[in-house]
């Protein structure tokens, strides 16, 4: 189920919240667990056992790690079982066919692809990382074993962050998960509803609307009856405009979704970590990655980069660690070569900045921003390079070898206001505006009501565009 749909907004959300608030304290996690399972199964019931197995493996390994407190070997084996369980599932569903087809392409073999896994289990990239964080933390004795399987299940399948994060570590929420009475305060719910509204508006008013500029050029993959300009017919300026629109769409889509997740977390009494912090105002690539998808970078830093030695084992080793993390980041985003390229591209940029560029970037005022935005947009071109209607080589030829074709005039005129609004919404200005509006009770409530009403109109009005981060 996608948040920006009528079924979610007018059925799932009101019913779940009502049940959750009305449930006696002891049963709140049960309600959360069951409703989240319905949410998870709504798109595809067949993946229910996947979720169940993942919960059970990690739950039992957690118990085992506690039981064999003194036995180092047993603990290591249990950790490996849990890792194999989580990563194995992720690999099977997300990467197996890619690896098979790559092997076929390289060695000329003829392995048949595995059938029935063309659609990923909902949110598998996110919840496998959450269960990993739990077992690793229990193994490292950073957190207590969870004894209650309902509470643990509620953590793993919790609907607000199930599809698109933020990636919440178990220890971030374990305290709240065990507060049964008085888990939430009115103030927290108020904040949660505010964040949810902004997230929804970002997703449907900005992301979907600006994304149409990009699909005007490359078409809509699952709507073959919608005509489009075609990448080959577009001029270089139009392709740049399209990729910029895509960059805006990706940010609003993903951050809007995260914001909705964080908001609903607060409504339920949980404080999830921030996931985006105005990434497009960064003045270096290093800063960009501190502001973009923060919970994923944080996860890799904590469970890969630092265990590998981080920056404590000399510069060469640090660069190597960076390489590993960026490669994994690329692979995490999708099972394809363009994502691997994209990850390695960022490795090169980050390494260059670490080696010598950063001091210069710190001194600059305007050019570091232009430098960062340019490289980030080029990065997104790589990122989208494998989508339907896009041909990687053609896209980059169009971007970097000036060519004629359909010019951007009409698109600038048609999307002009939206582009301007989008740019403003990438900066903290929008937060300042909200602070101003929220000083007065009436303007505060009215702003929320207007945003909700217009967002609802867009949800109903548009044939919903599926959420971009579905396949990651």
């Amino acid at each position: 189920m996608v948040f920006s749909t009528i079924i979610f907004l007018l059925r799932f959300l009101p019913i779940t919240l009502a049940l959750y608030y009305l449930a006696p304290p002891k049963l709140k996690n049960t309600v959360l667990f069951l409703c989240s399972l319905v949410f998870y199964c709504w798109g595809e019931v067949r993946f229910f056992p996947v979720m169940l197995a993942l919960i059970l493996i990690n739950y039992l390994c957690g118990l085992g790690l506690e039981r064999f407190e003194q036995n180092k070997t047993a603990r290591l084996i249990l950790l490996l079982i849990a890792l194999a369980g989580s990563l194995g599932m992720l690999f099977y569903f997300k990467y197996a066919n890619f690896v098979l087809s790559s092997i076929n392409a390289i060695f000329g073999t003829g392995f048949a692809p595995i059938q029935g896994i063309s659609v990923l289990p909902l949110g598998i990239s996110f919840y496998t990382f959450q269960t990993l964080s739990y077992t690793i933390d229990v193994y490292r004795r950073d957190v207590e074993t969870e004894h209650n399987i309902i509470d643990f299940g509620a953590y793993v399948v919790m609907f607000p962050q199930l599809i698109a994060g933020p990636i919440v570590k178990y220890r971030d929420v374990s305290d709240r998960l065990h507060v049964y009475k008085g888990r939430y305060e009115l103030k927290q719910i108020e904040d949660g509803m505010t964040l949810f509204t902004f997230g929804l508006a970002k997703k449907v008013l900005l992301a979907d609307a600006i994304g149409a500029l990009w699909t005007d050029i490359i078409g809509v993959a699952d709507s073959p009856s919608v005509s489009f300009v075609g990448l080959a017919n577009a001029s270089t300026p139009l392709v740049w405009l399209g990729v910029i629109a895509y960059s805006l769409q990706l940010y609003f889509d993903f951050s809007g979704y995260s914001l909705m997740g964080i908001g609903m977390g607060k409504m339920l009494g949980f404080d999830f970590p921030q996931n985006f912090n105005y990434p497009y105002i960064s003045a270096s690539i290093t800063e960009f990655w501190r502001r973009w998808h923060m919970t994923l970078s944080g996860w890799f830093r904590e469970y890969v980069y630092i265990p590998l030695g981080g920056n404590r084992k000399g510069l060469k080793r640090q660069i190597f660690n960076l390489f590993v993390v960026e490669l994994l980041t690329g692979i995490w985003h999708g099972a394809n070569w363009n994502f691997i390229c994209w990850g390695l591209y960022y490795f090169v940029l980050l390494a260059l900045e670490k080696l010598f560029l950063l001091p210069y970037l710190k001194k600059g005022r305007v050019w570091p921003h232009i430098y960062t935005l340019f490289l980030v947009v080029v990065g997104w071109a790589m990122f989208v390079g494998n989508d339907a209607g896009v041909e990687f080589g053609l896209l980059f030829r169009k971007l970097f070898i000036p060519s004629g074709g359909v010019m951007p005039l009409y698109f600038l005129r048609n999307y002009g206001v939206l582009l301007a609004v989008s740019v403003v919404c990438c900066t903290p200005l929008i937060e300042k505006l909200w602070k101003l509006l929220s000083r007065n009770v009436i303007t505060k409530a009215l702003t929320i009501l207007v945003l909700l009403t217009v967002s609802m109109a867009y949800v109903v009005g548009s044939t919903n565009s599926p959420f971009l981060y579905f396949n990651f």
Partner: protein
């Protein structure tokens, strides 16, 4: 401070909580209590009804979830109003020149957002061209082809500036060559329509041409075939206002200007045949040229010839026989032919697949007219039937 004001003060500390809760609780309740609709006129579709769970299996559940999602989407309270609100925000606040896949041009004209051929059309266009050529070759000298350009080709200055709409001209040029090479006549209406562009020849809110546009094209056909055209001044003109067409139902802009339908009061008989095999069928229902009941519903254009029937025959006031193979553009065109022919047979391949050659052999037509808009010619999945001999 007394107890009462204390409480109200604390409520006002959470304005978002109140607004948000009222919004969703209110909509939730409204959505549950409003009765379900069977049909949406604006969207021209039947709406899904509440599904029931057929079996508690993976398949059964998946089907139910999908059906229920669609049901909630179709039956959401105030669906039409939400759509209209979105269109208003898009055009008034975001200042877009496009809404729901319709370009909003000058003079209140709407144009479909056709940026290029979609992938299915890259197959149907050559297929339909080949079918047309085959038909011309089977009946040399008898086939007249009229492919009507979209309004955007006649009114390029009204299209939003720089919009990369499909260039129909080059396609029509090559179709003209193909038809003539195959022994047919290509009746090119582009110049004629352009010459009359100051008149009301295309609907603003619909994808069809008006009866006036069809008349000028008809006159051109008469010139080509040496016929005396229908005399409009000899007949009573009837009009129907408040026509919102297919473009409008997509765009849903609040300030769209409705169209007016014009038709001539003609007493001719129209027989709609129930076709069950090749050749001229016997069973048919005889009625008039127009289904005026359609003037009271949303899709008013459907009044012409009672919509798109597979095979119908009109009793005309002239001599000889003509066969019209057509899409809906012909529906407002065909009435003029009553001035020239005694029998006007009309075939719409969307509802007819019973061997065209047998029909032609049975009736010995003097002329064949293939009349399509270019837009449907490039995409029609049934026109290939014209190329099938037999």
């Amino acid at each position: 401070m007394d107890k009462h004001s204390k409480r109200s003060a604390s409520i006002f500390r959470y304005p978002v909580l109140i607004a948000f809760t009222l919004f969703f609780a209110g909509l939730f309740v409204l959505d549950l209590v409003t009765p379900d609709r069977a049909y949406s006129e604006l969207e021209n579709t039947t709406l899904s009804q509440r599904p029931s769970l057929s079996s508690v299996s993976a398949d059964g559940l998946n089907k139910f979830f999908t059906a229920y999602t669609k049901y909630v989407k179709d039956q959401v309270v105030g669906r039409d109003n939400w759509v209209a609100l979105q269109s208003t925000v898009e055009t008034k606040v975001m200042q877009k020149e496009q809404s729901g896949g319709i370009l909003l041009g000058k003079q209140q004209m709407m144009f479909p957002r056709t940026y290029g051929l979609v992938s299915s059309e890259t197959r149907t266009l050559p297929k339909n061209t080949a079918a047309l050529e085959a038909l011309c070759q089977r009946y040399p000298g008898k086939v007249n082809v009229m492919l009507v350009p979209a309004a955007s080709a006649i009114y390029p200055e009204n299209v939003p500036a720089g919009a990369p709409l499909l260039d129909e001209d080059s396609y029509l040029d090559s179709l003209s060559d193909a038809v003539q090479a195959a022994g047919g006549r290509f009746v090119d209406v582009r110049q004629t329509l352009t010459a009359h562009k100051d008149e009301y020849i295309y609907y603003r809110t619909d994808h069809h041409w008006t009866s006036a546009g069809a008349y000028y094209a008809y006159k051109l056909l008469c010139d080509t075939l040496g016929l005396t055209p229908f005399d409009p001044s000899a007949h009573t003109v009837l009009t129907a206002d408040g026509f919102y067409g297919t473009h409008y139902s997509k765009a849903r802009t609040p300030d769209a200007e409705p169209d007016t339908i014009t038709y001539y009061d003609l007493p001719n008989e129209l027989t709609i045949y129930s076709v069950s095999g090749p050749g001229q069928p016997a069973d048919g229902e005889t009625t008039g040229l127009y289904d005026t009941a359609k003037l009271d519903v949303y899709d008013k254009y459907a009044m012409f010839l009672h919509g798109n029937n597979g095979l119908s025959r009109i009793k005309g006031d002239g001599t000889g026989r003509v066969l019209v193979i057509k899409d809906s553009y012909a529906n407002c065109f065909v009435p003029y032919l009553t001035a020239n022919y005694a029998d006007i047979d009309v075939v719409d391949f969307r509802n007819y697949n019973y061997g065209l050659d047998k029909l032609i052999a049975d009736n010995d037509y003097d002329q064949l007219l293939v009349l399509y808009s270019f837009d449907s010619f490039k995409s029609d999945p049934y026109l290939y039937r014209a190329g099938v001999a037999g």
